[in-house]
Point group: C2
Chain length 234, copies 2
């Protein structure tokens, strides 16, 4: 039975984004997934990386976050909230993010989930990125809402391409970077300004999308075969 | 006398990023700027947007963040820490961000500074974005460090273009979006793995860069003359 981790960032129980998370949960459950949840607002997740994450220090004199992440994970001294989240990610076959898009990125509470949980060593290393990343073999996708209209993004839109442009930092640069196979996300445009029937239809479309997620396109990531041992282009 | 707001995100007093902030402060001070600071770790800035930001509610039944930002700012009921930050931005002629690059973005503590401080209404609106954004007339730039080598980004790099690619969400999609004229940032590559003399040289280069910041290239933003009243391409 495949396991799906739903990572959710919205403070309101009655929000559209929370309804999206719930519809995805129902859909994945119906298609035979076991579900685990990281509801970041509900958990009161702390997104601010700091020395308090480290129970001991590999180098007490000077802090390099990435090196202390490795040292503390291996020593078993990483903050317990992070160990728990890392275990959830490792247990999952599929990770799904649900969030409102703020400033062409995830809300800070989710950005900090990546900052603190996607630790150096387990998730990536100097040579272990993209298809060689620590989370290779897992899939990831997302569903997010944004205020802007659909015609404001894409090749002719004022902001340019969304998922493959403005949001490349997230889909290629974060989820793809750690080795996950990233499935094109579901995007809910202009939601605060839509009547109830349009929002209902959007949730139905979302359900249909996640019922058949595996058939959806993948986000392209760099092919390591085109690069040498120092990632120089061949 | 122009005013510069330095927004800084690093927990460590002895970090390279803090040394970058200090060098920028010295340089801008020497070139006649008055300085104001938002040292986010030192302030214990809370990056998590929530209903607690709003002293009252325009709509008590359903929360739409952007609408409550407008309502509460106008009613004088926005959280005091946000009012203070908004006033600093308004007072500044130049905003400079200093941070370590995490996951091709700012650390969560700075991402949440945008989420909470760059409020709807004052900073942007449905039709007031890019050159018509609320912060038009101000300049912005940044200096950031990252672990990766310089040859890993750019047209031939494995990650593709950095400032104009992976980081478009920040320079175009956030700073440019609210109307600021965005000056190409200073990028410090591969810093944790460099000897002291290379790091010293990098700080000298940074000083020279900010001593002559105005001569540096601008980040291109969409030209609104090419788009109609609904931002349709003309």
């Amino acid at each position: 039975m495949p396991t799906a981790l739903l990572v959710h960032a919205h403070s309101e129980r009655d929000s559209f984004v929370t309804a999206m998370r719930d519809r995805i949960a129902e859909t994945l459950s119906a298609s035979g997934h076991e579900l685990i949840h990281s509801d970041l607002y509900e958990m009161g997740f702390n997104p601010v990386l700091s020395p308090a994450d480290f129970g001991e220090r590999g180098n007490p004199d000077h802090l390099v976050y990435a090196l202390e992440q490795r040292h503390n994970f291996n020593a078993g001294t990483l903050a317990p909230d992070l160990v728990a989240e890392i275990e959830k990610v490792k247990q999952a076959d599929l990770i799904v993010l649900t969030f409102p898009l703020f400033w062409f990125g995830t809300p800070a509470i989710m950005k900090g989930w990546f900052d603190r949980v996607f630790i150096s060593g387990e998730f990536y290393g100097g040579k272990t990125i993209y298809e060689r990343g620590g989370m290779a073999g897992k899939k990831a996708s997302a569903a997010f809402s944004l205020g802007g209209r659909e015609d404001m993004v894409g090749a002719r839109g004022i902001h340019g391409p969304l998922v493959h442009g403005m949001l490349r930092h997230l889909f290629q640069g974060t989820l793809g970077y750690v080795g996950m196979e990233v499935i094109e996300p579901f995007v809910a445009h202009n939601i605060p300004y839509q009547p109830l029937e349009v929002r209902r239809k959007c949730l139905d479309d979302l359900g249909a999308y996640f019922a058949d997620l595996d058939s959806k396109p993948r986000i392209p990531i760099p092919d390591l075969a085109n690069f040498g041992p120092r990632f120089e282009q061949l």
